[in-house]
Each structure stands twice: as structure tokens, then as C-alpha cells.
Symmetry: C2
Subunit: 256 residues, 2 copies
């Protein structure tokens, strides 16, 4: 279905949770509970953006770090930089390759194909650093499952984007990135379209799923128990498409 | 002034222009005219995000490509990939160094320190590709000038972010990036802050100026004559800070 852009505004509506998420929780259930409590509901056209952490928790992607035995070489490297060698070992296991390992920074390509620090592993500060939390095994599938559960419970087909915050080459600070997508096209391809004067636009493919992730980053956060938000008023293109559409193949990438 | 985050929603409000911008135009004047026509006005706490293209046009950053004489070597390289060698020559002039030149892609570091394709040069499709448009000479200064002009005309101190769309390593599609900032801190540093359970947050510096740029990308566009938008409801930290805060020094960068 071709996209129609409305000239109107876009709203970023945070969803505040009360409970922590624990393994086995239904994210759809917890989300709709939270929305009910906040007197919020989905509208036709909404997009749901969810931080991956609650998905990982619900999917029990916890790893007990005391079960990880890094090599002597890794221990020596990690200690130089005051890092936990068990996290580094786990990051290597969760990767399909090392992109850079230098100055105490480990950049890997994860099994999913994301290039980020430490394979996206979070270490909880809750238990003194004994537990690690991995990315969802397949965040496209997690997004699709959540979308189906929401459709069953609300009757609405809501696209879902799952996000994580990554560092970027050349730029300081983290921003949010889409790591799982269901129900919408991640890219908007304006090539061949015409501007208001009738001139054809040059190559212009926009990573709207990543821009949506960043927009959500403005209202979601650890400090305010807001692991999800609704984007309302943004015209997306429905269709099958996953995060793979956002990953540049190694053959055409200049920075590996 | 320390930041206070409101739990509420953030609104992205597009500003639709009627006229094209031409050299010498006052962006503040054109913007306030457009807002008047659209029955829009600034509120306390608003952030203004502007696509760099109208700034470059107002600052007459046009270059007549017929005045550019590329070397024979550059002509040979460009012709292999069906590129305009004059644009490549100009991109090199606008750069302080080449980061990659391969497969018909030229990634440079601009004089400002941005790493992007072709030094961020746009080629207008209006006149058959005879004119190039450079980035603003100093977009922090452009942002500061716009902020001062708006303060004079509205009485409000509105932070201004100027953006451009760049490609990224490893990911497909372009997203918006901040290239000039005035009136707010580009980074939010949550290190040392505590989550709702009282636990200290790990290293977490968020590039909010880039996230704001991406959010604006959702409502601004070439197709709808919307070169600017207001972000309303986002709690920023006022203060002196420019785009330099977002540029990772070469010494700590792993991808040059």
C-alpha cells in the first residue's frame, strides 16, 4: 500500500509501567495493563516502540555470569581496561565476528547482524553485576509475536519496533536503533518521486525505523520506567519487512 | 541548569513553508511568516529543528559547477561510476581528508569535522545539475544567529538544531544528524544518576541532538515543503554547547 503523508503533527506518547518485567511475563498483557491504568488506548495508525530490555527479560535472556569462564588471554586483556572478562567472553559467544577490539572497546557483529559494543549485552546493576542480559534471540519474531498478541486483544494491527541504544562511529553518545520490526517497512524509498515543483528526487532512502527508534528515545528511559511509547500520526507503509532490510551487506560496507 | 524530564508526551509539529528560500532571505523572517500563516506560534520550552538546506540557500552556499575543473585522474574515477567529477572535486575541496573512496562512494571528513558522503554537497535537480549547494560554513553559528533573531522577534529563547541526512556504516538508509546547535546541550549524560530502584546507571551518554534530528526527520521532508519543525514537550538542558560535542576525536575513533 503506497504511503500517504499527512501534513500534521506526530505525537510521541510514553507508556509508563508500574511493575518490572520478569521471565515469562506477557509483554502485551503488561503493556495493556499499563495503558489501562494510564487511561491510554491504541488508535488506528499508531506504531508501538518498545525498548528491547523488557522483551529480553520476558524471554528470560538472563545469563548467570558466574557460569562463564573466560580464557587467560581474555582475562589479561579485560583487566588492562577494568572490564569484566566474563562479559567479554559472553559477547564473543554472542557474536559471529569481531569488528574491532582496541583501547578497551570490543565491537562485534552479533548473530543477528548488528554491529555494536559487547554484542549488545547489558549487565544488570541490580545484583552487583552477577547477571547479564542478552538481546532477544530474534527481535523480529518478538515484534511479530507482540503485534499478533495486541491484535488479538485490541482488534488493531499495530506495527511494532523493538530498539536498543548503540554507539556510532565518528559521533559521541548513543542513539536508539531498531533491532526488530513487524508490520511496517523499515525504509522509505523516495527515489523517483517528485518534489513540489515536479523535479525527480535523487537517491533518497530513509531509515525511518531508526528515526522512529530515536524519536522514541526522547520519551522512553530508564529513569522514568517508560520502556515503551506510541508514535501517533506518522504515516508508515504496511508490509512485510524486518530488521534485515536495515543491515548493509558486508560486501557493500566500507567500514568493517 | 539540571534537566527535569516531564513524563508527558512530546509533539513534533511541522512548519510548512510557502516560498522557496533564496540567497539573502532571513530564515527567522520566513519561518515566522510561515508560522503566522499556519496559525502556529512558539511556546516556552520549544525546540526548533531546521533542515540545513534552507540555511545553505539563505547563506548563498551555491557553487556553479561549470567553474570547477577536476583533474584527469578524478574524471577517470568518476566516469567509472557515472558520477559528476566536478562534484567529487568540490567535495574534496570542502574536506579536510578522505576517509574512504571505493566502489563509487567518496566518504570525506568535512572542514567542520562531519564524516559523510561527498562532504554533504547537494546537487540541485532544478537546473539540470549545474549548481551545487554546500553545507553552511559554520552551522553552529547559523543556529546561534537564528536563535538570536527569533529571540528578538518573539521574546523567547528557543534552542535551534540544524540537520542534514547522512548515511551510516553498517546500516542501510539515511537518517538525520545534528550539524549545528545553539541554546542547548547536545548530549545528555545520565552517568551516575539512579534508576527508580535507586541503582546507579552505567555509562550512558545519549546523543539527544541527533535523536531530535531524527524525530524531526519524521515530519520534515522535501515532498511536503516542510523544512522545519517544532519539538514541543521535550525537557532539554540549556547551556552552551555546539556540534563539536557530538564529534568523536580521531584519537578515540576506531573507524577512520
Amino acid at each position: 500500500m503506497p504511503e500517504k503523508r499527512k501534513p500534521g503533527e506526530v505525537r510521541l506518547i510514553p507508556i509508563r509501567f508500574v511493575d518490572d518485567i520478569v521471565p515469562g511475563d506477557s509483554i502485551a498483557g503488561k503493556l495493556l495493563d499499563a495503558m489501562r491504568l494510564n487511561r491510554q488506548r491504541f488508535h488506528v495508525g499508531d506504531i508501538l516502540i518498545v525498548k528491547h530490555k523488557i522483551i529480553s527479560k520476558a524471554e528470560n535472556r538472563f545469563v548467570d555470569l558466574t557460569t562463564i569462564n573466560p580464557s587467560a588471554e581474555l582475562i589479561a586483556w579485560a583487566e588492562q581496561y577494568d572490564l569484566d572478562p566474563r562479559v567479554i567472553e559472553l559477547a564473543l559467544r554472542e557474536s559471529r565476528g569481531v569488528i574491532r577490539r582496541k583501547n578497551g572497546v570490543l565491537i562485534t557483529e552479533t548473530h543477528h547482524g548488528f554491529i555494536c559494543a559487547n554484542s549488545g549485552i547489558d549487565v544488570s546493576n541490580v545484583d552487583g553485576g552477577k547477571t547479564a542480559l542478552l538481546l532477544p534471540e530474534n527481535a523480529d519474531r518478538s515484534a511479530a509475536d507482540l503485534r499478533i498478541a495486541l491484535r488479538r486483544q485490541t482488534g488493531l494491527a499495530i506495527p511494532v519496533i523493538i530498539t536498543d541504544s548503540f554507539g556510532r562511529p565518528w559521533r559521541e553518545g548513543l542513539t536508539e536503533f531498531a533491532i526488530g520490526i513487524a508490520g511496517m517497512k523499515p525504509l522509505r524509498d523516495d527515489r523517483g518521486r517528485r518534489d513540489p515543483r515536479g523535479y525527480k528526487l535523487k537517491a533518497s532512502v530513509e531509515a525511518i525505523a531508526d528515526e522512529l527508534a530515536c524519536a522514541a528515545g526522547l520519551v522512553c528511559g530508564k529513569l522514568n520506567r517508560t520502556p515503551a511509547c506510541i508514535v501517533r500520526g506518522f504515516s508508515y507503509t504496511t508490509g512485510i519487512g524486518g530488521v534485515k532490510d536495515l543491515l548493509r551487506p558486508a560486501a557493500t560496507d566500507l567500514f568493517r
